[in-house]
């Protein structure tokens, strides 16, 4: 039931090869766009909404294209590299992002009532947790939020996040822990049923 945001078929040309090829044949870079533009669009649409997403994705690839010479071919998968650029661009909209989450707090109350039975049984649902999550995301420091969302929404591993943000893996871990602690605290505030792990 969990649809991955990103899925990579095993048998295909490596991203790094495409990037290498694009140094002499710029058209090859378009293949990278075809591969990842939708994924990045979805990710940005979650953080900033659809209005900004299209342009931001376009810009991401332009920046990536301009820096393609510097791509380290040792990494076959270009996703962390692209997510790193996306994250920098998203950070320009930091205030809009927080405002977006806060706006979700004001969404109509009836939405909260209507959950499917199986979820009611679990006590906590994404819907009921929504205000708490929105509030927590809005309040997180940008650095912690970047890490948390690259893991939760970008489906990157700790190592990939480290590469994307150019920080040590240890820093990824500590930022993630800090962010999750705050999210759990926010969930706990609104859901006495919620059990701490």
């Amino acid at each position: 039931m969990v649809r991955p945001l990103t899925a990579i078929p095993a048998d295909r040309v490596r991203d790094s090869d495409l990037i290498g090829e694009s140094r002499t044949d710029p058209e090859a870079f378009a293949a990278l766009f075809d591969r990842y533009s939708s994924m990045l669009y979805r990710y940005v649409s979650r953080r900033l909404g659809p209005e900004v997403a299209e342009d931001l994705v376009g810009e991401t690839f332009l920046i990536a294209f301009a820096r393609r010479d510097r791509y380290d071919a040792a990494y076959a998968d270009a996703r962390p590299w692209l997510f790193g650029i996306v994250t920098k661009l998203v950070s320009r909209h930091r205030r809009a992002e927080s405002a977006r989450y806060r706006a979700l707090l004001r969404s109509p109350a009836e939405e909260m009532v209507d959950f499917p039975d199986d979820r009611v049984a679990s006590g906590v649902t994404a819907r009921s947790a929504r205000p708490a999550l929105a509030r927590a995301l809005a309040a997180l420091p940008a650095r912690d939020r970047d890490v948390l969302l690259l893991i939760a929404w970008g489906d990157l591993s700790y190592e990939e996040v480290a590469r994307a943000l150019d920080i040590p893996v240890g820093t990824v871990r500590s930022r993630l822990n800090r962010a999750r602690k705050k999210v759990r605290a926010a969930l706990g505030d609104t859901n006495p049923m919620h059990e701490e792990e």
Binding site: S38, R46, E51, D55, G58, F61, A126, L133, W153, H194
Partner: protein
């Protein structure tokens, strides 16, 4: 329940599917000029505003309004035809990258300020009195403006009317697409008909047209003979003269007093007028009464999909480099429609070839 799991569910709720227009960003990637434009893209350059305005005015009466609307800093929300709105602050470069096709519709709602020109009409879209498909080349160095006679009998695809009622596909006059289904339907009709993807459909109200010409201080045209047309409320002597907004509007709508009374002649006059507007805007930028112009422009433009401030700015920037003389005005090749000689049908294969050229330049 796991906090990350909750967060993932939450993320899926917030997610949007990529629109088809995302493909434009791909074009941007492969277009060297767009790449360099982006590299130095900054805010609007104040020093070029007048030139930008004048040159952007260069396209058609309707496109004139686009850059000017954005020159007013207070502009923040574009009303969409369906009553929704979209806040500014979104994308920037999709309108500057690659080729761009605009469907411009001179609408005649005859409501409010327009009521004096005819009986009050309540249909949502109003009549489209002129339709122009504008194609901007990818390098923005040239443009083609193809006028589409409103009398054209064409297949109109299924659309949704103002009351959300589904209007079945049928053959009808092309201007009924806008009258019955609004911008969305007009755009779909043109796209289906021509195979040219329309990036933005822009409707401009006649009353706004009037105000804009007045703000320009009138436009100069030469009439081959005197005009006296009560229907268009227009009396003008022959020769070279300055028309105010009211007169220019009358001239544009004139159908019977000059030429052979056909829609084609009317289109020719509208093209004459567009050129006159371009010339005026280019020659006398500093005489422009900007506040009036803006007011007129802003009140009378509707776009589909909604253009936000940044997109309009980007569009204007794209137009800034274009010379008025680089715009080619054309009319869809037509012949009388066999079942009704007072209507027109598109002449094939000429019409098809014209749009095929535009469509292939739009990839």
């Amino acid at each position: 329940m796991d906090d990350l799991k909750l967060l993932r569910d939450f993320g899926r709720e917030l997610e949007h599917e990529p629109p088809a227009s995302l493909a434009r960003q791909r074009g941007r990637l492969l277009d060297p000029s767009a790449r360099s434009r982006t590299a130095r893209a900054g805010g609007p350059r104040r020093t070029r505003n007048w030139a930008m305005l004048a040159l952007a005015a260069g396209l058609t009466a309707a496109v004139v309004t686009v850059p000017t609307v954005l020159l007013s800093g207070s502009f923040d929300v574009v009303k969409m035809p369906d009553g929704g709105s979209r806040s500014a602050g979104g994308g920037t470069a999709s309108v500057t990258a690659g080729p761009l096709n605009l469907l411009l519709i001179g609408s005649d709602t005859r409501e409010g300020a327009n009521a004096e020109y005819g009986p009050h009409m309540t249909t949502d879209g109003g009549r489209s009195d002129s339709m122009v498909l504008v194609h901007l080349a990818a390098d923005r160095k040239s443009a083609q403006a193809v006028s589409i006679p409103r009398d054209s009998m064409v297949p109109i695809p299924e659309c949704r009317g103002a009351d959300r009622k589904v209007l079945p596909a049928h053959t009808g006059m092309i201007n009924s697409a806008y009258a019955e289904g609004g911008l969305v339907c007009a755009r779909r009709t043109i796209e289906t008909l021509t195979g040219v993807p329309v990036d933005y459909a822009i409707a401009i109200d006649f009353s706004g047209f009037k105000g804009m010409i007045d703000a320009l201080g009138g436009v100069e045209i030469t009439l081959p003979k005197a005009v006296d047309d009560p229907k268009a409320k227009l009396r003008l002597p022959a020769g070279r003269q300055m028309l105010n907004g009211e007169q220019a509007l009358g001239y544009a709508r004139l159908r019977y007093a000059l030429g052979d009374g056909s829609d084609i002649m009317r289109i020719k006059r509208q093209q004459v007028l567009m050129r006159a507007i371009i010339k005026k805007a280019a020659d006398l930028p500093t005489t422009l009464r900007l506040p009036d112009f803006l007011k007129a422009a802003r009140a009378s433009i509707t776009t589909e999909p909604g253009l936000n401030l940044e997109e309009m700015l980007a569009l204007a920037r794209g137009l800034a480099g274009m010379k008025p003389s680089a715009t080619t005005f054309m009319t869809v090749p037509v012949r009388p429609y066999p079942p009704d000689r007072n209507r027109l049908s598109w002449k094939q294969p000429e019409a098809g070839e014209l749009f095929k050229r535009i469509a292939s330049d739009s990839k």
